[in-house]
């Protein structure tokens, strides 16, 4: 044990000796407690991993990167407080964080006002148009647009939607409806649940009465895991198929037993199971550092957090500065990285990413990748947002979904 400690400590000492100047401060704001901790904890692990990786390679601009983690405890008020603190007290170079869309919209205006660069690394409903903000996760034109056609083609045309009752769920439900109708399908009903609902009995009966071919869920958070549990307990798994825009993000595949989870379909921009050299290398290194804390890297959010940090680091290297405007301009110069999730290119017009999307099925507490859609551009946001033409825009467009 002591020997292991010494070998682990050695690079740390050398690093500090090598990096003389003041560290570059970076803030992470993620819920690692409360109902959203199922998302936050893996995201923080991946952010820590990304920072450590950059530091081991000599830091940025010859300076060490110092990560300051805040835990808003699934409480929006704390988000605004911590964003203000990160921007004014810590004077960080960039903030990575925000999990729900509600939390993002709470801190985005604050960080813009304080001229602090902001990275939002979560899949979300799309439409954010703000030159100070980079969104590195996938959006409905990338994930829902792959998930729904698969459902319609393989399972049937009649769909029932269950979603979380806030902006993400409401808007995603519109996208699901849009793609279902475009694919010649029909939405039989949609139910919305506040984040603390744990009783889904009546909803499950309503779905059975509607007799859909498939249920598409956009449920969010720890409480909503009960839905899948009660769905399986009612014996519905053998009756009606289940797809989800979110299931897996919160390690639901681990929280549910294989019997409860097997067969749930999901579409994300990363699964631990995807097969490429960068992913194999990433997982091997990651498991050594965080394997004990995080045995399975959940889809999408943690990987986008890792990539988000790498993109920012690449921006700093190209700008040769941590000055906000210089980094933004560098990031808009068409940065493209080979990541464990495949190639990710930052789109200058929308500040969103062109990325690979995968459709996969939950199997044995993991996922089995069924289809791959390389290099999907953020078409939804691109239809409403052009920051090259209008650099002063600052709003989230609710993309007009024709339904």
């Amino acid at each position: 044990m002591a020997a292991a400690g010494a070998t682990l400590a050695a690079p740390l000492v050398m690093r500090h000796a090598a990096l003389g100047a003041d560290p570059i401060k970076v803030a992470g704001i993620h819920d690692v407690s409360g109902g959203l901790d199922i998302y936050g904890q893996p995201m923080v692990a991946c952010l820590e991993f990304a920072v450590a990786e950059v530091n081991e390679a000599g830091g940025l601009l010859g300076r060490e990167v110092q990560l300051i983690n805040y835990d808003p405890q699934s409480n929006i008020q704390l988000y605004t407080q911590f964003a203000t603190e990160a921007a004014t007290k810590d004077k960080v170079a960039v903030v990575h964080g925000g999990i729900t869309s509600a939390s993002r919209e709470a801190i985005r205006p604050i960080l813009r006002r304080f001229n602090t660069l902001y990275f939002y690394n979560t899949q979300y409903e799309g439409g954010v148009c703000d030159r100070n903000c980079f969104c590195t996760g996938s959006t409905p034109a990338q994930n829902v647009q792959k998930l729904v056609p698969y459902v319609l083609k393989n399972w049937g045309k009649k769909v029932y939607i269950v979603a979380a009752d806030y902006n993400y769920g409401q808007i995603t439900s519109k996208w699901i409806t849009k793609y279902t109708r475009e694919g010649g399908g029909e939405v039989l009903g949609a139910d919305f649940f506040p984040l603390d609902v744990t009783q889904f009995g009546p909803a499950i009966s309503k779905i059975q009465a509607a007799k859909p071919d498939a249920v598409v869920s956009a449920l969010v958070g720890g409480s909503h895991v009960s839905f899948y549990r009660q769905w399986a307990a009612a014996g519905m798994k053998s009756q009606i198929k289940m797809a989800s825009t979110t299931c897996g993000d919160g390690s639901e595949n681990i929280l549910l037993s294989a019997a409860e989870g097997d067969g749930i379909l999901a579409a994300f921009s990363y699964f631990q199971e995807i097969d490429n050299a960068a992913n194999t290398a990433f997982l091997a290194k990651f498991k050594v550092k965080f394997g004990a804390k995080l045995a399975y890297v959940p889809p999408e959010l943690p990987m986008r957090t890792y990539i988000g940090f790498q993109l920012w680091a690449e921006g700093v290297r190209r700008a040769k500065s941590i000055d906000r405007m210089k980094v933004i301009e560098a990031l808009e110069s068409g940065i493209s990285l080979d990541t464990p999730a495949g190639k990710t290119t930052l789109d200058a017009k929308t500040h969103h990413c062109t990325l690979d999307v995968f459709v996969a099925e939950m199997q044995n507490q993991g996922f089995k990748v069924l289809e791959t859609f390389p290099q999907q551009p953020p078409l939804d946001t691109a239809s409403v947002c052009d920051l090259a033409a209008h650099p002063n825009e600052n709003q989230q467009y609710v993309v007009d979904v024709k339904i």
Partner: protein, 288 residues
């Protein structure tokens, strides 16, 4: 027809859930007049007792039906001896003390197991009614609520212990004059109330999952049910659960889960305006 049966079953299950989460509070608050704001945390402790002992390899049914109530009953006994017994008759002080206890329990469990949702699959599988499938565990919950209510009624109505407990709650000085130790009766009654809450937590754990803050989701509903029920603790709780559970479930079916909860609260408010002393303040006045 099948659908009507399913809706009826869901209503019964909604009522049973209210009965289960309220019975412990009915004993502690309805009978002993102790405002226990840590009632939700007793449920939470029951849930954790069940889940942790299940994960330790103990049989699921023993974990839910024996360990959860026994563990929380013991905790209730300790709480009564250390805290509650100094505060009988001082309602405001009891509220403050139990609120503090509630915060301490949430914080303590949070430190011990972390603020993460844990759960285990509901046992018993499912069965079909026509074209519909229902979890058998729902039926088990309905049966459990009925058996619990029946047991409490039998104990209060037909046993000496029940008689002594009721007598002591009504007039502790007279009970003491007759040779009963009110101190001991209070302690045992509080522990039984806590054990019922623990059992409720264990019973609900497989369907709702367990998290340190889960109590807050239940405590308001439990208090509303017991207060709407009124003076007769058992009849009142059953009547109020029947009414509010039905309103909640039918509201959820017809509209959304949010409006279902709103309907429950609206009915409770209107009812208490019309019957300030609860349902049993007007009806079933001589019932238990």
């Amino acid at each position: 027809m099948d659908y009507a049966l399913i809706v009826a079953l869901q209503i019964a299950s909604g009522i049973a859930t209210l009965v289960i989460i309220s019975l412990g509070l009915a004993v502690v608050f309805g009978m002993m007049r102790v405002i226990n704001l840590a009632h939700g945390e007793f449920l939470m402790l029951g849930g954790y007792s069940a889940i942790l002992s299940y994960q330790a390899g103990i049989n699921l049914w023993i974990a839910i039906l024996l360990i959860a109530p026994a563990a929380v009953g013991a905790i209730g006994l300790i709480v009564e001896r250390l805290l509650i017994r100094r505060l009988y008759g001082r309602m405001i002080d009891t509220m403050l003390a139990t609120w503090g206890l509630s915060l301490a329990l949430i914080g303590g469990v949070n430190m011990a197991v972390g603020n993460t949702v844990s759960g285990f699959p509901a046992p018993l599988g499912s069965f079909a009614i026509g074209a519909f499938r229902v979890a058998s565990y729902d039926l088990f919950l309905i049966a459990a609520a009925a058996v619990l209510a029946l047991l409490i009624w039998l104990v209060l109505r037909f046993t000496t212990a029940g008689l002594i407990a009721r007598g002591t709650m009504q007039n502790s000085e007279m009970a003491a004059a007759l040779g009963v130790s009110p101190d001991r009766v209070y302690a045992v009654t509080f522990a039984i109330g806590a054990a019922l809450s623990g059992l409720a937590g264990g019973l609900l754990a497989p369907i709702s999952g367990v998290v340190p803050t889960m109590g807050t989701a239940y405590i308001a509903k439990a208090f509303i049910t017991v207060i709407t029920g009124g003076a007769a603790m058992l009849t009142g709780t059953l009547a109020a659960s029947g009414l509010l559970g039905a309103v909640l479930t039918i509201g959820t079916f017809l509209t959304t889960p949010v409006l279902g909860e709103v309907a429950l609260l609206a009915v409770a408010v209107i009812l208490l305006r019309l019957l300030p002393r609860g349902i049993t303040g007007r009806f079933f006045r001589r019932a238990l």
